[in-house]
């Protein structure tokens, strides 16, 4: 352009482009903006050369620095493991009681146990270990398989009705579904169990069910219904009900004989982690 065309109204130069008498003002990008823009281009080229950047048919360009986020994470995890190695070793060689007696080690075990609980146990037992319908509450003082440190450690290691050969194993029969007992007998037994837990029940039904209970239930639950930890048979005289306290809940349990499955953690978690978990679960308040 030979002559600068200046818009009279604004005093700004125009680009020379005109549409229906409307001229485009020439307001160039601010210098600082352009500077950053060009710097970004230079940066991008450097980035392509140094860092992983372009997808190829097979794989991608690795860049001169050979950087990999995956390797960085692996290294970070290893670094963390190395940092914890001394304490893990200590954990490995201490008995559960020794862990509880050593405040420093206890703190470590509780922290590790809490994290491991969140990762592995919380889906069934709940984030606060409060349990749920069919999943035991680990905060209270009711233990199907025992609440001592060793009991808890063993339960975690082998699981319940799991695939481990030495799993904690017991199975309540499905008295109704498998036609072991008649429906009216199950109704009577339900009244009997309600009576066992100290609640008002139909006296005639209780009387009719006394022999039924002795024949069918007492072998595992005990003659007084106090339960037996050897078989993981729950105490029927307390206030805690795994599958609910109502008559309907109790009736359904006798009918179906439900039993939950807890996986074996022996092969999946390290012995130290299982120790930490045992200490953590024990510390929730119900530990014996």
């Amino acid at each position: 352009m030979s002559k600068k065309d200046v818009d009279q109204h604004t005093g700004t130069e125009t680009t020379g482009h005109e549409w229906d008498g409307i001229k485009e003002l020439n307001t160039p990008l601010p210098r600082w903006w352009l500077g950053i823009f060009y710097a970004c281009i230079v940066w991008a080229v450097g980035y392509w050369v140094l860092m992983p950047a372009w997808p190829l048919v097979h794989g991608y360009t690795h860049g001169l620095l050979n950087h990999s986020q995956r390797d960085a994470v692996t290294a970070a995890v290893q670094q963390l493991k190395d940092a914890r190695a001394a304490k893990e070793h200590e954990l490995d060689h201490a008995t559960l009681e020794q862990i509880q007696a050593n405040p420093d080690l206890l703190q470590f075990a509780l922290a590790e146990g809490k994290a491991a609980f969140g990762d592995n146990c919380a889906p069934c037992h709940g984030s606060g270990a409060q349990g749920g319908h069919g999943y035991p509450n680990l905060n209270d003082d009711v233990w199907l398989w025992g609440g001592k440190l060793e009991d808890i450690q063993h339960t975690i290691t082998v699981g319940v009705r799991s695939t481990a050969p030495d799993t904690r194993q017991s199975q309540m029969p499905s008295f109704g579904r498998d036609n072991i007992l008649k429906p009216e007998q199950i109704d009577d037994l339900t009244e009997y169990v309600v009576h066992l837990s100290g609640r008002a029940a139909d006296a005639k039904a209780v009387a009719r069910a006394t022999k039924l209970f002795a024949d069918n239930c007492a072998a595992c639950h005990g003659p007084a219904g106090k339960g037996n930890r050897q078989f993981g048979a729950p105490n029927l005289t307390d206030n805690e009900w795994l599958y609910g306290p109502t008559r309907e809940d109790i009736h359904d349990q006798i009918w179906y004989g439900r039993g939950g499955v807890m996986p074996t953690w022996g092969g999946r978690l390290s012995p130290e982690t299982i120790k930490s978990l045992a200490v953590y679960v024990h510390s929730l308040g119900g530990g014996e």
């Binding site: 709940g126 409060q130 209270d140 206030n239 805690e240």
Partner: protein, 499 residues
Amino acid sequence: MSIHAVITRREAPTMAAQGVERSDAEASNSAANRKFYKSRVPIYPKMVHGTFRRIKWVVMAITLGIYYLTPWIRWDRGASAPNQAVLVDLAHERFYFFFIEIWPQEVYYITGLLILSAVSLFLATALFGRLWCGYTCPQTVWTDLFIYVENLIEGDRSARIRLAAEPWSAQKVVKRVSKHAIWLVIALATGGAWVFYFTDAPALAHGLLTGSASPVIYAAIGVLTFTTYSLGGLMREQVCTYMCPWPRIQGAMTDRDALSVTYRVDRGEKRGPHKKGQPWEGRGHCIDCNQCVAACPMGIDIRDGLQLECINCGLCIDACDEVMGKIDLPKGLIAYDTDANVQRRLRGEKARFRFVRPRTVLYTVVLVVVGAVMLLGLATRKTIDLDVLRDRNPNFVTLADGAVRNAYTLKVMNRADRARNFWLSLEGIKPRIVDVIGLGNVTLPTKISVEADKVRTLRVLVTVAPRDLKPGSSEIEFTASDHRETRRVEAVFVSGAAP
């Protein structure tokens, strides 16, 4: 029509009066030259000499001295705490200020300090105008320092303007490079001093010199070096005018009786160049020499009146006073004065200063009250504290026999510089068992030892027998005491039964 308007710039004589050079400085924000979109007008403040320049040098030395030296002051606090007088210990969550040690829970002391600072600022502004902006604001102090360096290397105003207009030459490159290099060194020292407030200064200095300090430290120094260099060296007055909220807030803080740098219109107008021997009658004392504009670091013309851009630094007063001396007129054509006084003199009344005004009284009262509350708080500060967090997951646990258990996490804080034993007790409920994880079943009150300057976290399980249970939730109170100080914290015990 004023003389000012008659004589155009082109025809203006280079002398404003006998012995007084006339500057062609123009206000960067003059109304005649104000556009919507405008690039920055470069400002080349002229060096002045006088009372306010001297005060600014002294204030600069004091403020920079405080900034650079404070982290190096030692203060013995015993073995349990660092011996740096002023330290923001982020890693250990402590703030140390000489005899004061503040934990994160006591952040209200910081709030109090901020309120005190704000009210002091309001009071100072209501009395003396923008003292903060003109003398002590870091932006002003560092800009002043950077301009001083510029002046030292490139010369005074006219030399700098000439240099800027010159084509690039070896000499210009040398001057520019050395100026920016010194600016960067100052910026680096500024960023470098900042990090000493956050960790032990001698150890960090050693780490910095040997290159073994944390990357975070280097990054912090880098960022602060950049901001100091760009804000103090490159952006200067634009920070005050466009970025800082204070000029806007200041509008609400001042009134007609607040001191501010004022051009006494009553005495100055009508302005115009003066030839020796001409009478002063019938005209103002301003000889339109523009020295006040040339000296202004904000690039404004104080004669346009009180304006947003003015930081009240008083340099134009020095510039004008020097001129007044040369032409044998009394000093103070530009001076710290009030708008009300100018109006009074224009009306022929006597000027008077009113420092006691409703707003200054109010600010003083607020200042005294907040200060007293702060002092009282610090004097009666407890060295023991207790936090109680009740477990909500699960909210409560029912045991086999119908007893109910609640779990609490207690944080027992020992703010003293020695290990202490605290007696922990619980009121408001009759527990069957109180179990402290790690300590087993305890009888209350139980003794808990806490190390010096540490927090001890306890998980406490409280079990209440069925017969002692109340429906709904019960108000309970945990107490930690060492028989001299006692801390009570309210909590609740949830029974799980509907009230």
